[in-house]
Amino acid sequence: MARPSAPKAGGLPTSVRLSLQFSFLYAVLSAVVFAMAYWFTQYEVHDWVIDQMRGDAGTLQAIYQTGGAAILVDHLNALAAVSFEDARVYQLQDASGAVLAGNIDLPIGRPLPAMIPADQIAAAGSIIHEVNGYWMQETPIGPYRLIQGSGDHIVREVLEALGTALVLGYLTVIVLGLVAGIRVGRITEKRIAAILNALTRLSDGQLAVRLPVPAGGGDDLSRVSVKVNDMLDEIAQLAESQRQIANDIAHDMRTPLQRLHQRLERLRATPGVAADEIDACLGQTRDIISTFNALLRIAQLEGGDRQARFGLVDLAPILSTVIDAFRPVAEDRGIDLRLSDPPQALMVRGDQGLLTQMFSNVVENAIKHCPSGTTVAVDGLSDDRTIVVRIADNGPGISATDRERVFQRFFRTERSRHTPGNGLGLALVKAIAQIHHGTVSVQGNNPGAVFRVEFAACK
């Protein structure tokens, strides 16, 4: 049975990964929000500043109309003097472009409205550094030209405040998210470890194990666990009823088979009967019994009947006993059956009797299908993790399409249809390998076939 290898440990727990992903998403969103806020703020503040300046211009126009040019100049100078943080700049020019009033030293000649950098303005008094540029506009008042400017630092200050808020919020979310993520992650990790542990024991055949469900836990993990447990209950029930059926069949068929055998034996001892016929019947009865026993054993193994007594078993002496047992038979058939000496013990966890039967069946299968003059070579190799036993022959081999099917119950290849046997030997091999968490497969050997049995090594 090929078991998927466990995913590598050491990756970030899901919740931490999620919270990191979330904070990244938050950072991207913040950047987008910031960009939008920048654009809107700039637009709105600009609008507001322009409105302010227009309002001022209207007031100044009214002052000129009622008080004349001199009052207008006074007013402008007063306004320029109280301009807070150089946020506002003014200039009044006459028709020739000469400067009459204001806090801009250089005459502004260029057409307005426009954005003009702060260093081109040279406003009277100190120019504060926050102002990078001015939005400038002009309004005709009588024969004069009124130039107004408003610093852009208002927008930047608003945006700075907004940015600071967003960055602080972002950091808070990351820190809180990580702390919460790690905490939740630890808890979830523990629960998932408990679930994995339960699943491992289940796949080892401990069908009574259930996934842990914390008291009062109605979260998704608990709900999944409850569902899995319900399923396991049903599986356990099915396995139990299958076992029961197998036991019933076994018992209810063994007794009549016993009686049949007895009657035939008794009949055989009666004088004047056709002894040959009865011997044939007895032979058939024995065939039925052996097929019956093999089927039942396969069913027991496949049904997960972990009643076998598993202990530490060395495969090396098992292999040599099996080879020993079959060597004379092989020699009589002209087959060279040999075992390469395994260099060391081949320790696995298993049932000695079943493992012996498994290798016996594979070797027997090879001998049965190989013609005279062939070689059947058995070897066992082990490294830290696995033990591989190969039974290789150079006989007729098994066609690629049949290689999977030879392990099915009652499957027989075209060539083997007329050899004796019940078609269960290799099915039993597979069932025995599986109960040991091992695998068995067959490949081509150019020419011939190689059976390969693989187990986890035991130290």
Partner: protein
């Protein structure tokens, strides 16, 4: 020998008892566990046959009770159960041998003889001798009529088993279990082939064969 058969299936009990009688054994029968228990305590048997599933008192409990009561008679457990653990459970409960139904009478008979006349445990058994055949268990040597015969380790084990059970029938499955520790019956004629090899060495060069085939049952070694 005197045999107690505790078996509830009438037909099987009838057949086993009458067949044992026909071989000249004394046979007592009990149809349930309680009667079986009382009979086993009251009389002295050479061997007992107990079915695993009995009404009243099941076979395993009966076995444990008998062993608990100090009964040391060899016991053969018959069973319709052949689970992976059943045999071990039976042997652990105190059975000396375990036979799964359906079985041939010859198998039961051969195994009962082996059980009943099981030699008392000798601490120093170094030689086996049957007729002019000698086997040295310490030196792992075989000789017949003073002539050394080279045998392979497994053949030595096979021969030793046959000699220990001399004059009795040993079946194929008894040999598979004790010589190769095969608790299953491979379809291939492993035992026949090994016996044939052994005969070539032990019997062929000599006038009188020692290994005899018992038709439909197994083999017997005798002079």
């Amino acid at each position: 020998m005197r045999v107690l058969v505790i078996e509830d299936d009438r037909e099987t009990a009838d057949y086993v008892c009458s067949s044992l009688l026909a071989l000249g054994h004394l046979v007592d029968h009990a149809a349930d566990g309680k009667h079986g228990f009382l009979q086993a305590l009251d009389n002295d048997f050479d061997v007992m046959v107990i079915d695993r599933m009995l009404p009243g008192l099941d076979g395993l409990t009966l076995l444990r009770s008998l062993r608990g009561a100090g009964v040391t008679t060899p016991i053969m457990l018959l069973s319709a159960m052949d689970g992976l653990k059943d045999r071990v459970d039976g042997l652990e409960a105190g059975a000396d041998d375990y036979l799964v139904k359906p079985f041939a009478f010859s198998e039961l008979s051969a195994r009962l003889s082996a059980l009943a006349r099981r030699p008392p445990i000798k601490t120093e058994e170094t030689h086996l001798r049957v007729a002019d055949l000698d086997l040295d268990l310490l030196r792992h040597t075989v000789c017949r009529a003073g002539q050394a015969i080279a045998v392979q380790p497994r053949e030595f084990r096979l021969l030793a088993y046959l000699m220990r059970h001399a004059d009795r029938v040993v079946t194929r499955t008894m040999l598979l279990e004790s010589v190769w520790e095969f608790n299953f019956d491979p379809g291939t004629n492993i035992v026949e082939t090994h016996i044939s090899r052994l005969r070539n060495k032990i019997d062929k060069p000599f006038d009188r064969p020692l290994i005899h085939t018992v038709r439909g049952a197994g083999y017997s070694l005798h002079g």
